[in-house]
Symmetry: C2
């Protein structure tokens, strides 16, 4: 029989078991952080009905959608009724609108599932990837205090992930919009053009941006362009930036509202005890124009700026206007866990983890199998993840295996141990060994696991 | 703007948050059980290339497949390149063949992901559902000891799930095949017909089955049919059944091999300390003919026989012959977690869980917000999942909310507490309250959480 080459579609991250353990632990840490703040889990189906999913008028998103169709529907030549979700925001909107009367608002939800995009495959770009989202959805209104809780959760998660220093950058879209309006740039299309130039600042530098702002379509006056760049270039401590913004003497109401919101969020972060070194006001953070209306966030790893923002989001006015007439304002962020894990692994920050097992009960002699079987049962009953050798092999080979797959302790019962009612515990990390009464093995392993 | 009705496709299980917490806990328990035995996690992409996935020659499976196609591929009129997995066995075969040289054998893997089948929608039938599989894959050979480890894992998982009594039924396909061969029914097609009749025994009774065996296509002699039914009807303790099988004086080699394997598995289960009340030899367990070749398992809940088998599987000769010439025998089982959870919930065995939060820090007075914010931060730093009220509301409403969503403790700081440096902790389950110095709140909650 001819063989089929075993392979996955391109653009997916499939891991070997040691790496999968590390990734699972990564996801568990994120989940624990979300639950630490009382966020509630939601899972939605991988596919949605196409009319529910594709509410937006064409555009990039629709081009990247994967449609789903059963054999029967295909044979009948029907158009696909379903498509794979491309993010977790549309499913959240559908979920909240559908279950509105069964949910308590403000509704804090987290969702950690895979999403699908028909991207052209290239290194580090995924067609299937995990997103780990939190959002708080209010009914009619949502207090600004939630705009401070969101970065407090991010602080918890990235502290727990132990991936080095990180900084949550945040801004309020009203500040820039207000400034622009005050300068006579009130038309949304023109504001969008300015924001797009601002987003290029990191890449092309101040002079090029100044040139674009004063030339071409926008043709701003030189002092107007300079004023914009002065504002977004404000730096120093958070208090310095706020003081400078206050001192700018801009009367525009939207600007004042944005500044006031920014200060409220800063106060909230301090009250929630988030260390100030982990967040900073960055007026150059703009993010796409349509969706976010107030606070916006981007998070960067201090030692890996090249990765870009690892966690982004913001405040939006109305989650689910396609599905319900209820007004549902919200604020949230998303961690692209597959991409982040992949890049941290490439950067050597994350290594494959140890096995799921803490101990290997070796098989010294098949005639003593019953001894090792029952010892394994005792260790498991004591809550210790225990692998048991079931295939006879030289003991050196068993120890080498344990070492290779990252099982720290090997437990052996040979003829001597069996006669004495003991077991020998080898610590493969430390290179030590000790013979103990069988009843003491579980306790010893638990104590020793706490040491390195 | 006209609204789109928010709804999911039929045949999916989407849960409200309280139920999702219960389901998450259910899945976590299964995972913990699998890891207790050192099984290693694998996740595969939701879709596979169609030529990799659909290796079987048509049949029921292919009719139920969901094909996946990007917008671009659809526009070009191409056939779908990918399809959603319909089980976890084909992806495992592809994974092991693809990564054969990076895996250590025997390879114990677990996989807990959703699978997809284009079934006709009906109550309790799902098009998207979780499977939670374990398999051990050997290279060239796999010792029989693993056939005992698999039910030991099942015993761990179902004990931990706390869903009442359960019994792992097992059999060895060689016993029946050998008996049939010894009775002159050696042709696989005829064996399959007999097995199909045996599978009907529970439903239609002994007489009807006897009638089918002796009539129609099979036309067995009456004493042959009676001999078959006597064998599969053997009952009593496991030792009784084995003794009766031994006493049957059947010389067929396959029969003797199957009996010897059965006894080895029984010895292994005893050595692994699985209580005998949880497993029994049941010679009527046949399972579909093609795939399983030795030990087969089905597990039933003692109090809910109507649910049918909640965990089934067995031993197979060769996992991945479509993808590799290596011989990869294996043994494994699968828990259909979505269906099982759904049915246990319908039966009232599983209820929606409490919130992810153990404590709600209430907001007594917006002027004292900073006090409650920092207390929430302290509790979180102490590892207590804590929800913080951020939206001003009457205190009675906050307490009612906590009670409704299943948060047991409410922590309050009013003007008096703020002045005294204390907080009041209300236990909503017990209806008690106590005022404590702030520094003692976290410890009190931890201690009190251990009580009911």
């Amino acid at each position: 029989m001819s063989l089929i080459q075993p392979r996955t579609p391109s653009g997916v991250m499939e891991l070997l078991p040691g790496e999968q353990i590390a990734f699972q632990s990564f996801l568990d840490t994120i989940r624990r952080g979300y639950e630490r703040f009382g966020f509630l889990p939601v899972e939605t189906p991988v596919f949605e009905l196409t009319d529910v999913l594709l509410t937006k008028s064409g555009g990039e998103t629709e081009k990247q959608v994967y449609f789903v169709q059963s054999t029967g529907a295909r044979q009948q030549g029907r158009d696909p009724e379903m498509a794979l979700r491309f993010d977790l925001t549309v499913p959240l909107a559908r979920y909240v609108a559908e279950h509105e009367h069964d949910l308590a608002f403000p509704f804090r939800r987290y969702q950690m599932q895979r999403v699908y995009r028909g991207e052209r495959a290239q290194k580090g770009r995924f067609r299937e990837f995990y997103q780990c989202d939190i959002d708080v959805i209010g009914k009619d209104a949502l207090p600004l205090a939630f705009d401070a809780e969101i970065p407090a959760v991010i602080h918890q998660v990235f502290s727990d992930l132990k991936v080095g220093g990180f900084t949550i950058n945040f801004n309020n879209r009203k500040i820039l919009a207000g400034l622009l309006a005050g300068l006579g740039i009130g038309e949304p299309g023109r504001q969008a053009l300015v924001l797009r130039e601002i987003d290029r600042l990191d890449k092309v530098g101040r002079d090029k941006v100044l040139e674009s702002l004063t030339g071409g379509e926008l043709a701003l006056a030189a002092d107007t362009a300079a004023r914009i760049l002065d504002l977004i270039g404000l730096s120093g401590s958070n208090a310095d930036v706020v003081a400078a913004l206050r001192g700018m003497d801009i009367a525009d109401e939207t600007f004042r509202a944005g500044l006031s919101e920014l200060e409220t969020v800063l106060d909230g972060l301090a009250a929630l005890r988030v260390p100030e070194r982990h967040y900073r006001v960055n007026l150059a953070i703009a993010r796409g124009l349509d969706y976010y209306t107030g606070t916006v966030y981007e998070t960067f790893l201090d030692d890996h700026p090249g990765i870009g923002s690892v966690c982004s989001g913001g405040r939006y006015e109305n989650l689910a206007s396609n599905y319900t007439r209820s007004r549902l304002p919200g604020v949230g962020i998303s961690i692209g866990a597959t991409r982040l894990f992949y890049q941290l692994r490439e950067a050597g920050v994350i290594a494959a983890h140890a096995s799921t097992a803490a101990a290997l009960v070796a098989l010294m002699d098949p005639a003593l199998a019953a001894e090792s079987y029952s010892l394994a049962a005792e260790l498991r009953a004591a809550g210790i993840n225990t692998e048991l050798t079931l295939e006879p092999a030289k003991i050196a080979k068993q120890l080498k295996y344990a070492d290779r797959v990252g099982i720290r302790f090997a437990v052996l019962i040979g003829a001597d141990e069996a006669a004495r009612g003991t077991a020998t515990v080898k610590d493969l990390t430390r290179g030590t060994q000790v013979e103990l009464p069988r009843a003491e093995v579980a306790g010893h392993l638990r104590d020793a696991a706490g040491t390195a």
